[in-house]
Amino acid sequence: MRTPSLPPKPWTKPSVALTLGVVTVAGFLLLDTKGVDVAGAFVKTGKDLVTLFLQPAAVHFTVWEAVQGIVLTLALGLLTTVFGAVPALFGGLLAARNLGPGWLSALLKGFVSLIRAVPTVLWVLIFAIGAGLGSVAAVVGMTFHSFGYLLKAYSEAFEEVDHGTIEALRASGASWPAVITQAVIPGAWPGLLSWTFLRFEINFTTAVAMGAAAGAGGIGFDLFMAAGYYFNLREVGAIAWGILIVAAGLEYGATRLHQASRAGHK
């Protein structure tokens, strides 16, 4: 348990808050709105949102095609999560500070923080030059980013495994693979599951984005066509509802798994 009230550190907190506040206000004053009628645009967006959410309709594609689009996007999300998770599991074991040498841990964690620092869409576009736009580039790019994310998450889950259990098994002469399969992985299991599902949730959203921005197809591409090409608000609404329902369902699952993994730690 953290103590709820901490001694105040006046020299940083207000200065950080002040900096953020100044940047925010200055941004509004200085950035170019290119002569857009801001008040009018807010009114228009308000009307757009009402049409969008209250009168959804499929126009250029059927509801069945929209379902297929969502399934394809889910498939991309799942595929990239699994492909990222497998190497990340091995990498995570090597990168956990309590299991391997410190220099290896630092090296691997540094490497994946580089991978994660590049936004996923850039990875997909970079891989698309070699593999062509489409599902291959999207899968490879998203897998790369998932690998970086999961390796860090897994190694931290391994580091939380009770040190005593590992030492006891080692002292009783258990082999290295036995320690991993009997103590480390079962101990970290709820955390591993929770992180993996959370990444699946993220990857669904990312797959929507890759459909819209990097030609990966699926419901994201439908969204891009409806909003950026046909300018059909009711169609955008239908797609937004579809994505919202799936994303909220995934979020519910991720929250349940997270609570289960936290309960396991107490």
């Binding site: 925010t24 857009v36 590049v118 291959v136």
Partner: protein, 266 residues
């Protein structure tokens, strides 16, 4: 005897469930690969090829370095917009969370409405919000700002609300029992007990937003995303590489800064 039998039964059950789970994951993965028309062999062959291509062609050259001032200007714009969206969302989220938290709300109905709105904000992907705002706000920084703002608002409102529910109820009840009115309760009990975790959530959101901002910019023609897209589409890969490098440096610097800030705040 029965004890050993029970342990063996647990192990066998664990192995059985592990086997069933593994088979399920494999089936779903293969199904996803078929749906996404992802060829595993092609995908794995593309990966090393793409890396080799990156190493030889995706490298900044002298012409790219001449673009550095332009890149830094655009990147600065993107960072400022991310900070603006995060700061504004954090401020509004705090008010919403106070109105919606079990311990400080005026009416239980407020919790339902605020939670539903927050879910809408975060579960509709940021790209969808960007496409929606693009219709009225055009290619200005406001489109990206609003998309990131709504997404952050949805995420932070939920996190703040749950933080206040979890950590502030004790101090609030203590002050309430002493007959303190609502406003002083908020100022003296809620704010000091939750501020460190709220700040930590906000820093996390800022890190996320810097990455999302690139994607949003790519779609809406603003900021660093626009510049990357420009270089990418005109096959100016050295400049696209330098843009990527600049993003990586900023993201890593921001991560380091927020780690440092967390240590000070928490």
């Amino acid at each position: 005897m029965t004890g050993v039998g029970a342990v063996h039964k647990i192990y066998r059950q664990r192995q059985l469930w592990g086997g069933v789970g593994l088979v399920l994951v494999v089936i779903v993965t293969v199904g996803s690969a078929l749906i996404a028309q992802f060829d595993l062999v092609e995908g794995f062959a593309a990966f090393p090829k793409a890396l080799v291509w990156m190493g030889t062609n995706f490298v900044p050259d002298a012409r790219a370095w001449a673009n550095l001032p332009k890149i830094l200007l655009r990147l600065g714009e993107t960072v400022v917009v991310s900070v603006m969206a995060t700061t504004a969302a954090a401020a509004v989220s705090f008010v919403l969370a106070i109105l919606g938290s079990r311990t400080t709300r005026f009416h239980p109905g407020a919790t339902v409405v605020i939670r539903a709105l927050a879910s809408l904000g975060r579960n509709i992907p940021v790209v969808a919000w960007a496409m929606i705002f693009l219709l009225a706000f055009g290619q200005t920084f406001l489109t990206g700002f609003l998309a990131l703002f709504i997404e952050s608002l949805g995420f932070l409102t939920r996190s703040y609300l749950e933080t206040i529910d979890e950590t502030a109820s004790g101090p609030v009840e203590a002050l309430r029992a002493a007959g303190t009115p609502w406003a002083p309760v908020v100022v003296h009990a809620v704010v000091p007990s939750v501020l460190p975790s709220l700040a930590s959530w906000m820093l996390f959101m800022l890190e996320t937003n810097i990455r999302s901002a690139t994607l949003v910019g790519l779609l809406t023609g603003t900021g660093i995303g626009f510049l990357f897209d420009l270089y990418y589409k005109s096959l100016n890969y050295p400049s696209a590489a330098l843009t990527t490098l600049a993003i990586v440096v900023v993201v890593l610097a921001l991560e380091a800064a927020s780690t440092l800030l967390r240590k000070v705040i928490l």
